[in-house]
């Protein structure tokens, strides 16, 4: 199955930690497939500062996840992305994403269970889409984030230059295409 929608060459991508987790380390074919894809499309890939911090604060037993982050950064294809709340519209997008996620979630989800890091992803995508990026692809970790962020970015009039994709299945498809 071809990855959908088509990700334009020379565009911008933002990844959540779930992508790093699903990729595994540099020895894994998932990691290699994603790295190859990024190079082939000459994508600029960012990891939000909040996501990197979250990884940095994780229990020591998960140091191997931090190593994956570092490996991608050392290989030169992953850069830190910094959200700028002074960019017009960014804080509104973050706020709307929090509300949208709460609305779309099951009834037993409370507002304080909606994580800020999930909403920051939407804000950063909006910031890049209204800045220098020609197109922004956001790789998220689940269908709920995908749906909520997609709705908010569309309502903020950047729906045609952004796409939100579930990272784990995207990588599975890449592996099937490259190694299958």
């Amino acid at each position: 199955m071809a990855p959908e929608p088509e990700i334009p060459r020379d565009s911008t991508a933002i990844i959540d930690s779930s992508v790093l987790i699903a990729m595994g380390g540099p020895d894994n074919e998932q990691y290699q497939a994603f790295e190859q894809f990024v190079k082939d499309r000459t994508l600029t890939v960012y990891i939000p500062g909040h996501v990197a911090e979250e990884m940095g604060e994780s229990p020591d037993a998960y140091a191997y996840q931090r190593d994956r982050l570092r490996a991608a950064q050392n290989a030169g294809w992953l850069k830190p992305g910094r959200i700028d709340f002074s960019t017009p519209g960014v804080s509104e997008v973050v706020d709307k994403t929090r509300k949208r996620m709460l609305n779309l979630s099951a009834e037993d989800v409370t507002e304080d269970e909606i994580e800020k890091t999930d909403t920051i992803l939407a804000g950063l995508a909006y910031q890049y889409a209204t800045g220098d990026a020609t197109y922004v692809t956001l790789f998220v970790s689940n269908t709920k984030a995908e749906q909520a962020i997609e709705d908010v970015l569309s309502a903020a009039d950047v729906g045609d230059i952004t796409s939100v994709i579930e990272g784990r299945s995207f990588i599975a498809n890449l592996v099937a295409d490259q190694f299958g």
């Binding site: 930690s17 779930s18 987790i21 699903a22 979250e54 990884m55 604060e57 994780s58 229990p59 037993a61 998960y62 191997y64 996840q65 996620m101 779309l104 979630s105 099951a106 989800v109 269970e113 909606i114 994580e115 890091t117 999930d118 970790s141 689940n142 269908t143 709920k144 984030a145 749906q147 784990r168």
Partner: protein
């Protein structure tokens, strides 16, 4: 315990029910046995030689565990075939306690059996134990159903987001594959 444990109109076999309960508990506490059980459930009927080769399990261990599954009453030997093949029954438990009702099915046994080969599951079980892995499986199914994000799931599970996202991602792989052999997966909530 009173007469109401005899559910009207159903055939209750208390001995077999408790046997299922003990079998399930033993599978959860014995990762190698869990791995063997899942392999046979997925590929059965399967020859014993194939099990040894595919799982890279010594002869004596293989026969010890096959014998154990047979004693538990979940394994059937098909001696009429040459060479002999084996199959296992998918175990399905509905647990109703003061903490609520959960359904335990083969997919959790599969997750337990993967500890050797999947670091993400092994680290989680070492740190958090098997009940928490069962809870993680429950929340993974809800994440896949679109009930909430992985980070919200980590909050509900009471673990660090990275720990939650790591185990949810590993369990998503297990669940996707389990759809082929776990007939009760839809109800494993």
């Amino acid at each position: 315990m009173s007469a109401d444990n005899r559910i009207a109109g159903t055939q209750t076999d208390p001995e077999e029910t408790f046997n299922d309960f003990l079998t399930y508990a033993e599978l959860l506490n014995t990762p190698q046995l869990a791995r063997l059980y899942t392999f046979i459930l997925r590929d059965g009927p399967v020859e014993i030689e194939t099990i040894k080769t595919e799982l890279d399990m010594p002869h004596s261990t293989t026969y010890k565990y096959l014998g154990r599954l047979e004693e538990m009453g979940v394994l059937t030997r098909h001696d009429d075939e040459t060479p002999t093949t084996v199959t296992v029954e998918p175990i399905h438990l509905q647990l109703d306690t003061e903490h609520g009702v959960v359904t335990a099915t083969p997919v959790l046994i599969d997750a337990i059996g993967r500890q050797r080969e999947t670091e993400d599951i092994r680290v989680f079980v070492d740190r958090q134990g098997i009940p928490k892995l069962a809870a993680a499986l429950h929340y993974t199914l809800r994440i896949m159903d679109g009930d909430f994000t992985q980070r919200t799931g980590a909050n509900k599970l009471g673990v660090h987001p990275v720990e939650g996202m790591t185990v949810f991602t590993a369990l998503e792989d297990v669940i996707e594959e389990a759809a082929e052999y776990d007939p009760y997966l839809d109800r494993a909530d």
